[in-house]
């Protein structure tokens, strides 16, 4: 019993089937699909309604179950489909309904003090604890390595330090500026997802021109971060030449973004109803020249690095996650693609532009290690620039279209999903409205929510000193996870 829907489509709340949790569980296990979202909503009188969205690309399957006030537990799904593990942990944390026999009901964001970490015992065994404040200028999180000498047996990751109550704020005072600040390294992706949700609720048809500008900016964001991360990986293996060159090259891309919209990270560009800034022809020709130089620099530096044996000895076979494990753990986005799990919502849930701009998925030979993530980033940078060029070319056809369209009232009793492929992976925003059209639940899922466990898998049997490399090659978000 699922209702089929598509990305960026509205469905009526009343059309979503309401099952008993036992039935829903069986249906989910029968479908055996990847969860896109699995979350609860307070349904009044102590009741909780659980919504589940499954990936049935290019469609989405939606269903729900209602927990009466006295139903406080259910048989967990994780044992049948492990990818549900983090979703069920979150659901338990937010609504207190316990998934029975869940293998690892660790807190996701709250009650960090009450959790008892795994411990290994033995003569040569020791623990290394790091954080929440880390050595560099990065976000907070607590890592605990269980080691035997230099080798890491297991890494436990404790997050939640960044928790700002974003989902509640999105109900109380939603704004584009708040959406941009949920995860400040994926400004365009988050803001686009939020704007698309609001546009569907308000029945706004965004102009082709605005859609194309959003697309170009999204790919610029992807390229800029990937270039920065290539530099960060180079820095972590003490290959300073790479760190400097990629760092300087990234600056060119984000400064182009500054010319477009006044912010290096694209703040202020996307708004509900369209975009706030036009990209003129002079800007485009200047940007194209810059990107040509950027691509040359990235090509040259990447090839230099990949030819260097001391670089390769650090990247190859470090932090490997197998395809089976990645699939099982439910990894998404770039981290999954680097392991050979082919998930990319740009192509799985395509919009009309893929066809019109002739954009296709490109095959990637994945090996799951740092080297694979390094090369995938390089490949995606190239692909992003090729998409940007196509978008800029197409943009000239829509000169006279408006940038911004005004909308009406929110739809009532609606359920809207918007999935945007940020540079880390799928960013899922879901909004529900009540009978008056007010937003009654706003759910956000960052790709890092799925992928943090992938990092824990990656460091197993690696040296502690390779942790920075595993970490940077994933570059996961703390604030996107903690919300």
């Amino acid at each position: 019993m699922f209702i089929k829907t598509k990305n960026n489509t509205k469905i009526n709340l009343s059309d979503i089937p309401v099952l008993k949790i036992g039935e829903l569980r069986e249906e989910i296990i029968k479908e055996n699909k990847r969860p896109v979202a699995f979350f609860g909503k307070d349904w009044g009188n102590g009741r909780v309604r659980l919504f589940v969205v499954l990936d049935n690309a290019p469609e989405l399957l939606v269903s729900s179950a209602l927990f009466e006030a006295d139903e406080k537990s259910y048989e967990c799904i994780t044992n049948a489909i492990p990818a549900f593990h983090i979703f069920e942990r979150e659901f338990y944390e937010q609504f207190g309904i316990k998934p029975l026999n869940h293998p690892w009901l660790k807190p996701v964001r709250l009650n960090q003090d009450e959790y008892e970490f795994f411990e290994m015992k033995g003569e040569e065994v020791h623990q290394v604890a790091v954080g929440p404040i880390h050595a560099g200028v990065i976000e907070p999180g607590h890592f605990r390595f269980m080691c035997n000498g230099e080798a890491v047996y297991h890494l436990e990751i404790m997050l939640g330090y960044q928790h700002r109550g974003v989902e509640d704020l999105m109900i109380k005072s939603p704004s584009n500026q708040l959406a941009e600040s949920i995860c400040g390294d994926s400004v365009i992706a988050y803001n686009t997802a939020y704007s698309q949700v609001m546009e569907i609720l308000k029945d706004i048809k965004v102009s082709d021109k605005a859609q194309l500008i959003r697309k170009a900016c999204l790919e610029m964001e992807r390229a800029a971060i990937h270039i920065g991360d290539l530099g960060a990986i180079a820095g972590d293996i003490a290959y300073l030449m790479g760190a400097s060159v990629f760092g300087a090259t990234r600056t060119l891309v984000i400064n182009t973004m500054l010319e477009f919209c006044g912010s290096r990270f694209g703040r202020g560009m996307v708004t509900v109803g369209g975009v706030d800034y036009d990209i003129s022809e002079e800007m485009i020709s200047k940007a194209l020249k810059t990107f040509e130089k950027v691509e040359k620099d990235v090509d040259r530096m990447t090839q230099t690095m990949l030819k260097n044996s001391t670089v390769m000895s650090r990247l190859e076979k470090t932090g490997t996650v197998s395809q089976e494990r990645a699939q099982e753990a439910g990894l998404v986005g770039m981290a999954a693609r680097a392991c050979g799990v082919d998930l990319d919502s740009r192509f799985d849930f395509p919009d009309k532009w893929n066809e019109e701009l002739d954009i296709h998925k490109k095959p990637f030979h994945a090996s799951g290690d740092v080297n694979s993530r390094f090369k995938l980033r390089y490949k995606e940078i190239k692909q992003s620039f090729s998409i940007i060029r196509k978008v800029f070319e197409k943009l000239s056809q829509y000169k006279n279209e408006p940038l911004f369209v005004q909308g009406g009232e929110n739809a009532k009793d609606a359920f809207v999903i918007s999935i945007v492929e940020g540079w880390r992976g799928e960013i899922v925003h879901i909004a529900m409205t009540d009978a008056a059209g007010n937003i009654s639940r706003y759910k956000i899922k960052d790709p890092s929510f799925n992928n943090w466990y992938g990092l824990a898998l990656a460091v197993r049997n690696n040296g502690v000193s390779d942790f920075p490399l595993c970490n940077k090659s994933h570059n996961l978000s703390y604030c996107g996870n903690d919300l």
């Binding site: 200028v137 976000e139 939640g160 509640d168 109380k172 704004s175 060159v245 706030d276």
Partner: protein
Amino acid sequence: MFDTLKSRIFQGNQFIKDIKNAPMRDQFRGFPILKEGVEVCDESVCPTGALKTNPLTIDMGKCTFCGACQKISPLQGRGCHEVTGEGSAVTFTNGYKLASTDRDKLIVTPQSNYEDYVKSAVEVKKEIVKMFGHSLKLRQVSAAGCNGCEMELNACSNVNFDMGRFGIDFVASPRHADGIVITGPISKHMAYALEDCYKSVPNPKLVILCGACAISGGVFQNSTELNREFLDKYPIDLYIPGCPVHPLTFINGVLSYISK
């Protein structure tokens, strides 16, 4: 090796030579200029309550520099027909030297202008210059920051901005630091770690608030998950506005404070 050398030659020198007078692109939204007696948009367009219309002021400690208030259009200020100069009450200039030692100075009025602000915003103290003028090592604490300010602070040390040449660096241990730089609105879960870190820094020490979130809570100011008691307990030395803070804003702010 020859490839590496070739790459080096292609790159040339990347650093900004004169960081105090570095040119900024016109599109950058920095110091706001306010004008009385013209149509002003509704206070509600401001996502953080930085804009007050009676009397007309903008609090740069709250401002995200989103530019929503400088657009006045038939579409309730959310359109794209920018009215700048004559018609608009608010104009964001590309002035990027926004740091101040005084929280109240961050509030811009129609009488404020950028040149005077730059001259008076940072109060230079002799003992600070003597103590930290040659070398300033900072420990950054991200207390629920969105990674925007963190990325820009990292950029301060890259080859373009090269903050290290002024003796200013980010260090790993608070024991090695002369002060802390706080980003983010300070979540409940980070309150303890932040205070612990501050206490670990040897005296005398500085506290620098970096970005709208740290200074005022920014877009998260109404969140119930924050604990900002730290800011009431300890003195704040420098406020650096921005969302996120531009590297030039940060470097110039710190440089003017230690009077380099």
